[in-house]
């Protein structure tokens, strides 16, 4: 098949635009049949494939500043698909797709050892500590394209992979092998009222994400745009989620630095 060049789907999230409104979190919940409990205030057992964190610059009033940072799964590529979580899964229940760059999760294969959670430095993986329960009647809004998960397995952001499948199916029926940028968009990117999330193929120069992040594939996908950064770049996880910020303290908060280290040199 021609045109079979590998895609590398990824995101660029503009933290200057992100307002921390949380719409992306709910867009994800609604799209992906994410369960909810009466008390979700313990964030250590609350399933949010997309989680919006609040950062502060740590300065006292009135120099204080805050910034929000949405965190889906980074779909780390690591070194040639050796993402932190994929290589550790003993049952091959999570996999790195060389075709799309998406880190998948097979709920019916996962047996809940949680090794992948230990491996993921972004806390992007969530365990189903409870049986998912929808109050009587609420199961009516469940999306048939995404199977609800059972207790005892790990789940995480899939880059709304079912949307990729649906778009590909449609394209195939129409005799196409390639998707347009707007044909495959994640639920969170689509919903974000601020337009802070761009999603697309990082390898495709026509796609917004490529233009914004300017990933350098020769150097583990590092962004060439100096206002763009990735979370924990130094670990070598090679994430496919990039962030833009005009604020230096925000960019610095993306990674760990030694006291006298100048983050500017990282790029």
């Amino acid at each position: 098949m021609k045109n079979d060049q590998a895609k590398k789907y990824g995101m660029v999230i503009d933290l200057d635009k992100c307002t921390g409104c949380g719409a992306c979190m709910v867009a994800c919940m609604a799209e992906n049949n994410i369960p909810f409990k009466e008390d979700e205030s313990n964030k250590l057992d609350s399933i949010t494939w997309m989680r919006v964190y609040q950062l502060t610059n740590g300065k006292p009033y009135p120099e204080t500043d805050i910034c929000y940072i949405p965190r889906p799964c980074m779909h780390c590529e690591g070194d040639h698909g050796h993402s932190p979580c994929v290589s550790v899964c003993p049952a091959t229940a999570t996999d790195y797709s060389q075709k799309t760059g998406i880190v998948s999760q097979i709920y019916t294969r996962c047996f809940g050892c949680r090794y992948c959670m230990a491996a993921c430095p972004y806390h992007a993986r969530y365990f189903n500590w409870w049986d998912p329960v929808w109050p009587n009647g609420m199961e009516k809004f469940l999306n048939p394209s995404v199977s609800p998960r059972m207790r005892g397995v790990v789940e995480k952001c899939s880059f709304c992979f079912h949307r990729h499948q649906l778009a590909m199916n449609k394209a195939f029926v129409e005799g196409r092998r390639e998707l347009e940028e707007n044909e495959y968009q994640t639920s969170c990117a689509q919903a974000c009222p601020s337009g802070a999330i761009a999603f697309g193929d990082l390898n495709n120069p026509k796609h917004t994400v490529n233009q914004l992040a300017q990933p350098d594939n020769a150097h583990g996908g590092q962004p060439k745009n100096p206002e763009v950064f990735r979370l924990l770049e130094k670990l070598g996880t090679n994430p496919k989620v990039y962030y833009v910020s005009s604020r230096e303290w925000v960019r610095r908060a993306g990674d760990n630095y030694l006291k006298n280290e100048n983050p500017g040199k990282a790029h």
């Binding site: 307002t19 313990n42 949010t48 740590g58 199961e139 009516k140 048939p144 009222p193």
Partner: protein, 741 residues
Amino acid sequence: MKMDRRSFLSFVIGGAAGTALSPLPWKVTDDLAIWSQNWSWTPVPEDGEVGYVNTTCSLCPGGCGITVRKVGDRAVKIEGMKGHPVNDGGICILGLAGLQFLYGPSRIASPMRRTGERGENKWQKISWEEAISEVSKKLADLRSKNQSHALACISGYDGGTVPRLFERFLTVYGSANFVRTPAVRDSYELGLYLMQGTQANAGFDVENADYILSFGCGIIEGWGSPVRMFKANSHWKETGVKVTQVEPRLSNTAAKSDQWIPIKPGTEVVLALGLARVIVDESLYRREFIASHTAGFDRFVQNVLKDYPPEQVEKVTGIDKAVVVSLAKTFAAAKKPLAICGRGRGAGSESAGEIMAVYALNALVGNINQKGGVWAIPDPNYIRWPELEMDAQAAAGMQKPRVDGAGSKKYPHIRNLLHRLPEMINSTDASPVQALFVLEANPYYSVSDSAFVRKAWKKIPFIVSFSSFMDETAANADLILPNHVYLERHEDIPGAEGFIKPIIGLAKPVVNPQFDTLHAGDTIIRLAKMMGDPIAKAFPWEDYEACLEETFGDKWEALGEKGYWIDAGFEPSPWNKAFETASKKFEFASDDIGASFQNAVVKAEGEESAYPLLLIPYDSPRISAGRIGNPPFVIKTVADTVIKGKNGFIEVNPKTAIALGLSEGKSAVISTPRGSAKVRIHLFEGIMPGVVAMPTGLGHTAYDSFLAGKGVNINELIGPVEDGSSGLNAAWGIRAKLGKA
């Protein structure tokens, strides 16, 4: 056969080996694994044909177009409608969770009559026939005693056919007491009326302004039409439009702005007038507008601005005078600067003085009815129903002054003053309200000074809720006549808060009603018919749908197709036609207005000696706070520094906390002149020392177990503070003290 030890052991070992080698254990193991993948108690969503329905979201005044994805007859996802003039594909957190209202556990499944005490949550299901006839009898009884004016209706909205039908019902029944819940719109409408002489809504051309000066508006907390404002905010980032946020607390908006100017709460008006003074002093105003299209400029300068030199502004607001001066210059230097006000989401009104000071700023830079400025948006005025025929009782009832005093000599320019209702009820022996309708509002929860509200509530003998959900008001009503939720009904949704074009959205039934509910429009029509003439005669339509179709006439089809009607070519009136004041000019000062400016600063209730701190409410985009309770998905997104378990947090500056011996997470008691509550401490550097803040929208007692009992309802702690000149409730906070629990 004799079983000796040896043959027994052989049997056991042989049997074990045999079983292990047979397919049986492998089969069972496999089946068990497969079973674990298909647990019957984990639902499998039914598949079906996928379809999309365009409709309008009415969960807030935003007026967004939405597209609902359906699978078979189920609605499975709400998304923003692409190409919609207000939100163009965008959607907010609340709108996304809309299906949790539709299918949610707090829905009321049928008409119900209270059987226990109020609030005890004991109900008896009744038929619609029975329910409506019960209301009819009560109202007929009241009317026969010449007490028709003792019927009141609290409505969450007054634009559109449904509230108009209710208002019409009250009118022909003989009551002027249709009271709409407050919002900053009240203040803007008043400002437009006083300064421009127009009866209109304020629109803000935020997309074209090139500098935004916001006096505490929660631009990204839900102010105006939330999605539109989010988009505007991003647009500003892209085009380099600078935003200055004046606010005592580092809100999301403040954090996103280019400049955050912390200010002593309640003194925003002083800053606005101080800025005006600098602009005048330094002659930075737009002469062509001031000279030809304004009246009273000199009086404004002499009588008002003399009191606001920068030094004085610094003293009152706590903002360095150099900052005041440079802010004024920046504002005046911009081509299309826009000043806006309305704290937080704009869910409450502001003082007339404050709104007019902000208007005056816009006028000084000539940004009235201009690109990037404040526009007066006239009502689309599409509801033209036959004249009412009122009988003597109705006419007499309508002559009676409104219970809330709106429109009276004391409050001449105001149409609704809901905050006065509890006081009026509590100040007399027999409640002036004998029967109450509540439509799309939750006053039992959302009117401030909850204890006082509860006292007044007890005195109202008959309360009917039209709520779709078991909110606090419904839970404390006598009769519930549940409305369809917005995804089950047809309705016109006029306007989008702050939008610059007249627009009418149409809500369409996306799914069939899930329960035995009835469209509130139908309920009121059926009630009218049951009550007989002359009331019945005022409702000539067979049902609500017929009324709606007739109202829109030839627009109906187009409206249905597109989902909305917009006057796309609308342009604001040019200056020489815009002003309907006596002078036909923009009024900087008249006798009315002078009084308003004199009463500009609204003080917080309480004595500083007893209550050394200031408590202010804050809005969060992740907590809905009006008539709508947060659905499970949305409450899930609330940070654990806002609610943890059932506990709500109060934001305190570490300096304040240290002085009080309080630290992160500790329990404390917040007390105000109106009440006290248990809270936990959250240390936040982004709040002014001496000020503490609590979120709005928590502390529900009704709805469902996902929401009820979490945090504190700030209305328990805050009471109304009347703006001396307009009568609007202009409370922005209250004095408070915080102590260890």
